[in-house]
């Protein structure tokens, strides 16, 4: 068994998004097994780690930043990560979560939790992160090394980014990635 | 009946005799500035007082154009006493009329020798405040339409253009394109139908040069257009004037009617084959319609939006015909150039900027008003001598020239001669002649924001860089002035300034970043203070005030 330092330490995180990007990551299928030997998944919704570790090589961030908690996470990631990948349209553009930006937050909450509620209408205000007035992409808060658009990004594109990172070359996304 | 030079001279003589038959001629400024402080009522009360004192035979009250020093209006001027009164109220009439034979009313007296008057040189404004803008006879008595006669009867179109070229006159609308060259291009175009358009869509905030000329001496512009029409081979002209200038519009209408009746417009002018007719077109208040191609679209009855150039209007303009578009002040210079020769005009001003320039002084300056100085006059002379300096003992900070397309000129350039090239060198432009003076109470980020908001709301929306770029620029400036800006915002400002300037379709967008660029160039420290220390030195920005309140 090789010492852990030689493996690329990879993290993934899921902010304001639908987890579709993570699903697409899993769609890489068998090829994942091929690279599994050279990576360490140190933090992810797919693993059990509770706290974001130090010294992460690459972090794939799915989802937009919609709350103070999201931004805290982003800063924590940035401090402890060499390369940040904005992973999917929500992280890159705000995308579907950002569609609420054209309304006032109050309107959105009222619509969701009061007008459309069938049981105990109440706007939740305890024990949950406070939502921002506006949803913004990841790069509005922290520096991002790589943008991987797509809703979700195609498995091929994700695999290309992953392989490129492992091989230390710039990824070639031509024809593989686009918004939407 | 065709007008002859003898007719013209006779009209001039009758008019002069009539005016001089009065012992005292009281000229009351009836331009928009003084009218806004009721100079019409002053005029009426002076007339009433003359009747009351039985001096109708000795005193003539005339409504004239702008006397220049708008700050202290209503102004009246009494000749031959050479007395000017300021801030005249209707109740002052008895005292003024009563004092005609004795000592002037000292409390109203405006010192005649003050630099505001003595340092100016008037060509464009030579008749302003002297003739009655509503009477063509008054203009003719001042030598009006002689130049048109001279051009039509004694010069070929080529000779007229040669004089204009020799004068070195450059467009007074902003860009400073050589007028002779523009005329030559239209002259050379082979199409049978050509047009002359007078651009009177003055829209820069704080600028009122063209308005004053049109209100004070409308025939001068008409004469300039007719000469231009003769020179380039056009028989029809349009004056595109903004509807926000109702007085100018009214006086132009009247002037055109008078000119047609007399025969200086119409068929066979001065018994030559030359025919020229002028129509008015009112702009509906879009700043972008001052841009030549947008102006053309608007005259044609289409949406006032610019189109890419080339083709230039001189080749492909109004209804696809070669079109000469000149600004009001440019055309107002034509009659004197024809009358006195291009060489005379070229003897005034600097090497590359000939003649004089009219400026509208506004902002933090004592003598708000309209001035005309030779090109090359220093900013210091304009602001401190003619303009009377900064009020309330405050310190001069900068002067914004060229409106929203221009830039600010800071203190270190006060001794710079004002001409097209020196202004461009320091990142400002001559523009149409608006000068907004700012004192140390001005926040330059706020100034930039003001102009960017103007450009954003005046952007026509046709091209993407201007439409969205100005909105993004304004958003960043708003953020910075609210105290929420970051240091990266300053970089984004610079980047967007470059982008919008380089890629926008028309002059509006291409120059929209100028106020931001020039304030960044000379006052970047104010920007950084806003974003780093959340501090507005001048205390203008809201966050600055909030901070002061807490400390």
């Amino acid at each position: 068994m090789s010492p852990p330092t030689t493996k690329t330490r990879i993290a993934t995180i899921w902010l304001d998004g639908c987890s579709g990007c993570h699903m697409s990551l899993l769609d890489i299928d068998a090829r994942l097994a091929a690279v599994a030997g050279s990576i360490d998944l140190v933090f992810s919704p797919l693993v059990d780690t509770r706290t974001y570790p130090q010294n992460v090589d690459v972090c794939f961030i799915e989802g937009a930043a919609s709350s103070g908690e999201d931004v805290e996470k982003l800063h924590l990631i940035r401090r402890n990560t060499r390369q940040v990948v904005a992973f999917g349209d929500c992280a890159v553009t705000g995308n579907v979560p950002g569609m609420r930006n054209r309304f006032a937050l109050r309107e959105v909450l009222t619509r969701s939790y009061l007008e459309n509620a069938t049981h105990q209408p109440r706007i939740p205000d305890r024990d949950i992160p406070h939502l921002f007035e506006r949803v913004r992409p990841v790069h509005a808060f922290i520096d991002v090394e790589m943008f991987l658009p797509g809703c979700p990004p195609a498995a091929d594109a994700i695999f290309e980014v992953l392989s490129a990172l492992l091989e230390g070359r710039p990824p070639d996304l031509a024809g593989r990635a686009r918004f939407g | 009946m065709t007008l002859t030079i003898e007719n013209l001279q006779e009209i001039a003589k009758t008019e002069t005799d009539a005016v001089e038959s009065y012992r005292y001629r009281i000229n009351v400024c009836m331009a928009a500035g003084c009218l806004s402080c009721r100079s019409d009522v002053v005029k009426a009360s002076l007339e009433e007082e003359i009747r009351r004192q039985g001096k109708e035979k000795a005193c003539l009250v005339r409504g004239v154009g702008c006397l220049g020093l708008c700050a202290v209006g209503p102004l009246i001027d009494i000749s031959p006493l050479n007395v000017t009164y300021q801030a005249v109220q209707p109740s002052d009439a008895p005292e003024i009329i009563g004092s005609l034979t004795g000592a002037p009313v000292s409390r109203l007296l405006l010192p005649a020798d003050q630099p505001f008057f003595s340092r100016q040189k008037k060509i464009v404004l030579e008749n302003c405040g002297i003739i009655e803008p509503e009477r063509i006879e008054s203009y003719i008595a001042a030598g009006g339409y002689e130049a048109l006669y001279q051009a039509l009867r004694q010069m070929s179109p080529r000779q007229v253009i040669d004089e204009v070229t020799a004068s070195g006159l450059r467009g007074r609308g902003g860009a400073g394109f050589p007028t002779g060259l523009k005329w030559t291009t239209v002259y050379k175009a082979r199409q049978a139908v050509k047009y002359v358009v007078c651009n009177a869509d003055e829209g820069d905030p704080g600028a009122f040069m063209d308005r004053s000329v049109l209100e004070s001496d409308p025939h001068r512009v008409i004469e300039g257009m007719a000469i231009a029409g003769y020179a380039v081979g056009a028989s029809r002209g349009y004056i595109y004037v903004r509807a926000e200038y109702p007085l100018a519009v009214e006086r132009l209408r009247r002037a055109i009617k008078q000119a047609k009746r007399l025969g200086v417009l119409g068929e066979n002018i001065f018994n030559t084959p030359f025919a020229f007719d002028i129509q008015l077109r009112l702009g509906a208040g879009a700043f972008v319609c001052g841009e030549e191609t947008a102006l053309i679209a608007s005259i044609e009855g289409r949406l006032g939006r610019p189109r890419p150039r080339p083709p230039f209007p001189a080749e492909f303009g109004l209804w696809g015909c070669p079109t000469l578009i000149n600004n009001v002040e440019t055309l107002a210079n034509i009659a004197p150039i024809v009358r006195r020769g291009g060489g005379w005009f070229a003897g005034i001003g600097t090497e590359k900027s000939k003649g004089t320039k009219v400026f509208a002084l506004a902002g933090k300056i004592n003598n708000t008003g309209l001035i005309e100085v030779p090109m090359g006059t220093t900013l210091r002379e304009i602001v401190f001598d003619i303009g009377g300096g900064i009020p309330a003992g405050r310190r001069f900070k900068a002067v914004q020239t060229g409106g929203p397309s221009g830039g600010c000129v800071p203190e270190q350039f006060l001794d710079m001669p004002v001409d097209y090239d020196s202004l461009r060198e320091v990142g400002a432009i001559m523009g149409s002649g608006g000068m907004i003076v700012m004192d140390d109470g001005a926040c330059m980020v706020d100034v930039a924001k003001f102009f960017m908001e103007f450009c954003m709301s005046e952007s026509c929306g046709k091209c993407a860089p201007c439409r969205v770029g100005t909105t993004q620029l304004f958003g960043i400036l708003e953020r910075i002035t609210a105290g929420d800006g970051s240091i990266e915002d300053i970089d984004t400002l610079k980047e967007l300034c470059d982008l919008v300037g380089a890629t926008s379709l028309c002059g509006l967008g291409q120059t929209a970043p100028n106020p931001v660029k020039s304030t960044l160039r000379y006052f970047e420290n104010e920007y950084t203070a806003h974003v780093r220390r959340h501090h507005c030195e001048a205390g203008v920005c809201a966050m600055g005030k909030a901070r002061e309140a807490t400390t």
Binding site: R178 | G461, V468, L505
Partner: protein, 253 residues
């Protein structure tokens, strides 16, 4: 078929369509007629210049500014779609400076309204989306303006979603110049400019709309679409235009 020179609103009387010029585009020797634009000549020679407001068969506007090119000897940039070729012109369509400007302009366009490709009816068939890929625009660095835009679904067969409109005004041009209905127009200015039908009435109540659907086909984004199509289900077919143009021209002769 090579598209003929686009019809201008007014025929240019100052150009001679018979004269042929030789010039250089990106270092290649090419030739073009005096009334042809840099864009036309570049495309005839297989040189790619991105465009958005341009569409073969419609009058040019020169408005999106994505087709800007450099001409040697001038510090200014020129919109290739409206700049006519000249003898010995030396055109550069793909410098680092131009690529940078184009990407930034595209970012501005993306930031202007609410372009959410993932839920758009033309996802996968959108000129704006394609341009992002072609110009290498991976993200938008400017603030999203997120304006509150409306949707007009009053027409029985089509709908208009202002959220996706890039103000290319192809709809206005095709409706006025090709269909002759002049249903579409623009109201407001600057950032507040928007497409309107008739005198700002709901499209479905328009008395001038013939329901021909040309506007829908030429719209580069999902702003105009056919009803009954869901996300990614709509494909635009603007190819009819040059043929229509050609046939009309032949009919005239």
């Amino acid at each position: 078929m090579t598209p003929t020179a686009p019809i201008a609103q007014k025929p240019r009387t100052d150009v001679n369509p018979v004269r042929i010029y030789t010039l250089r585009i990106d270092g290649r020797d090419v030739s073009g007629r005096e009334d042809e634009t840099i864009l036309t000549v570049a495309r005839q020679n297989g040189i790619f210049i991105p465009t958005l407001c341009h569409l073969d068969g419609l009058a040019e506007r020169g408005a999106c500014r994505l087709c800007i090119v450099e001409i040697q000897g001038s510090p200014k940039l020129f919109a290739a779609c409206v700049t006519l070729v000249k003898q010995d012109m030396d055109v550069i369509t793909d410098s680092a400076r131009i690529r940078d400007y184009r990407r930034k302009i595209l970012e501005l366009i993306f930031s202007e309204r609410n372009h959410v490709c993932a839920v758009c009816v033309v996802n996968g068939n959108c000129e704006l989306q394609d341009l992002a890929v072609k110009l290498g625009m991976t993200h938008v660095r400017y603030d999203y303006l997120n304006p509150p835009q409306s949707v007009d679904a009053s027409h029985p067969r089509f709908s208009l979603d202002h959220n996706r409109c890039v103000l290319c005004l192809r709809c206005i041009r095709v409706c006025k110049d090709i269909e002759g209905a002049s249903t579409w127009d623009i109201s407001g200015r600057g950032i507040h400019a928007r497409i309107i039908s008739d005198l700002n009435q709901p499209w479905g109540e328009s008395e001038t709309c013939t329901g021909c659907g040309k506007c829908v086909q030429v719209c580069p984004t999902g702003a105009l679409s056919e009803k009954g199509k869901s996300v990614a289900e709509m494909t635009k077919r603007p190819q009819f235009l040059p043929y229509l143009q050609m046939m009309r021209k032949e009919a005239e002769i």
